[in-house]
């Protein structure tokens, strides 16, 4: 469960990241976060990951209080969160398998667990056959699927995706979104910041709309914009 209570984030340079935002995301929800660039989408996600600390207000993610938690607990917060980025962020000198296994090594999983979990994650994203391939031999969509496998391999309760389809063509974008939906069906809370109007409109999920740091709309089964 994620909760924001009257959260304001001001950056040192005077920019407003988020202004008096209050929201609650229940376990197992699928949420789109939409809005123009600079509207505060990234700030929202960064606060969940505790990359940023709120200037005012309270943020709760799983059992952690982001607004007052010691630095040393940050890794444990993040172990409960999977993250995917627009630019995939794979390690070029590791194979697909190694990239996914790396996420488990980092949290000190046993080799046995790694051998068991990595193929499962790769199968889920449909890349079992490309396990031994290096990222630069993959298409953008495939790379993002590797990133997804890496994000879910440790079984996080929340998956956060920051414009996961920003670098992909429409067809591939749909593939990724469907995968995210599938991951959500399995019980993981999924939060997606995106600009994909078509996809948002068709998927009929909860939509949180931000503008200049304020939540201007938060609807279930919503559209990208208010107009229709």
């Amino acid at each position: 469960m994620i909760e924001f209570r009257n959260v304001t984030k001001l950056y040192p340079n005077g920019c407003v990241g988020l202004q008096n935002a209050t929201l609650k995301i229940e376990k197992g929800e699928f949420v789109f976060v939409v809005g123009p660039s600079g509207s505060g989408k990234s700030t929202l996600l960064k606060l969940m990951l505790r990359e940023e600390i709120p200037t005012e207000g309270e943020v709760y993610v799983n059992e952690f209080s982001i607004h007052d938690m010691p630095r040393r607990e940050v890794p444990y917060l993040r172990r409960g969160l999977g993250v995917v980025f627009q630019d995939f962020r794979l390690l070029p000198n590791k194979t697909v398998y190694e990239n996914v296994a790396f996420a488990m090594q980092v949290v000190e999983a046993s080799p046995k667990e790694i051998r068991r979990q990595v193929p499962v994650a790769l199968a889920l994203v449909g890349l079992s056959k490309k396990a031994k391939v290096y990222p630069d031999q993959l298409s953008g969509g495939e790379q993002q699927r590797v990133a997804l496998a890496r994000a879910i391999v440790n079984n996080p309760s929340v998956l956060i995706a920051d414009e996961p389809t920003g670098n992909l063509d429409p067809e591939t974008s749909w593939e990724i979104m469907n995968l995210l939906d599938e991951i959500n069906q399995r019980g993981t809370t999924v939060i997606v910041a995106t600009h994909e109007k078509n996809i948002v409109d068709q998927m009929k999920k909860r939509v949180i709309n931000l503008e200049r740091g304020r939540i201007i709309r938060d609807v279930r089964e919503g559209n990208y914009t208010n107009e229709d």
Binding site: R78, V83, V107, E108, R150
Partner: protein
């Protein structure tokens, strides 16, 4: 920390060192240079104090009685020496013995002491103290006794040597401190390159939930590897160079008949200690360099 995690970190440390081979080598040579310069001072100190202690052990206080001292006075002085707790051993040198000693010294120029009889000489006591530091006090007390002509002790000159030794100590520490700062900053720069080369990996690790120490350790190990490699090379060079100096010095002191006075410590006796000192300094330098760099550039 789990054993396989440790294995992973050590492996990463070695991989990092190898990837940055050129900078690693530069850092290693800096460590070698620092330790070598420090080593010169270290060997000076070791040899200086070794010889000083040797000389101290040989220090003999000579208590000369007046030429006309009575046997009662002589017995008094001997009793005082015998019962003094500071005295380790003593030896009485009679007039005859002193004369015999003199005769050996002037064996080849016996005409110089022709006509001299033991009666011209004084009786004396040669005293070894348990602790040479007591020399001055002891000499002072004895010299005030009846029948004592003079008390000589070479401790003052040794004391001066001791002061010189202290200055060398201070000097070497200052040089070491300076070299440490330079080496540490060069190592920190090397590690910075690794941090930079791996910044993407580090970022990913942070998002996945790697602990700070999990991210830091490989860099610290890289620094320690550099420090240890430098220490090892410096140690080999030091032993080799020292051996040459030692055989040179020993050969020449023998030539000039000084081998009793100056004796160099053989490397075999101190090699273990030197290696441990080098290794500790080297690894501390490397580790410190890493920690500084990691703090500044990793921001974990």
């Amino acid at each position: 920390m789990k054993i396989r995690t440790m294995k992973y970190m050590v492996k990463e440390g070695f991989v990092n060192t190898y990837r940055n081979l050129l900078m690693s080598l530069a850092s290693v040579s800096m460590v070698v240079a620092s330790l070598l310069i420090f080593g010169i001072f270290l060997m000076l100190i070791i040899n200086f104090s070794y010889n000083l202690n040797r000389l101290k052990a040989q220090v003999e206080i000579a208590v000369f009685l007046k030429n006309n001292a009575t046997s009662l006075e002589s017995a008094d002085v001997e009793l005082k020496i015998k019962n003094d707790e500071r005295v380790l051993t003593y030896r009485k040198v009679t007039k005859e013995e002193a004369f015999a000693e003199l005769a050996t010294v002037y064996l080849e120029d016996s005409e110089l002491i022709e006509g001299l009889t033991p009666d011209f000489l004084s009786e004396s006591f040669r005293v070894h103290l348990k602790n040479v530091e007591d020399s001055a006090a002891f000499a002072d007390e004895i010299s005030r006794m009846e029948g004592v002509e003079d008390v000589t002790y070479p401790y003052d000159s040794l004391k001066k040597l001791g002061t010189v030794l202290n200055w060398i100590n201070v000097g070497s520490m200052a040089v070491l401190a300076l070299l440490l700062i330079i080496s540490v900053s060069i190592i920190a720069n090397t590690i910075k390159l690794t941090v930079y080369a791996r910044r993407k990996e580090i970022e990913i690790m942070k998002y996945i939930g790697a602990s700070d120490w999990f991210i830091r350790w490989p860099f610290i190990i890289e620094g320690v590897i550099i420090g240890f490699a430098g220490a090892l090379i410096a140690f080999i060079l030091t032993s080799y160079l020292y051996n040459s100096v030692e055989s040179f010095v020993n050969a020449h002191t023998l030539d000039y008949g000084l081998s009793d006075l100056i004796k160099m410590v053989s490397i075999g006796n101190v090699a273990g200690q030197i290696f441990v000192i080098y290794a500790i300094i080297g690894m501390v330098m490397g580790g410190t360099g890493s920690i500084i760099s990691v703090r500044k550039h990793l921001n974990v």
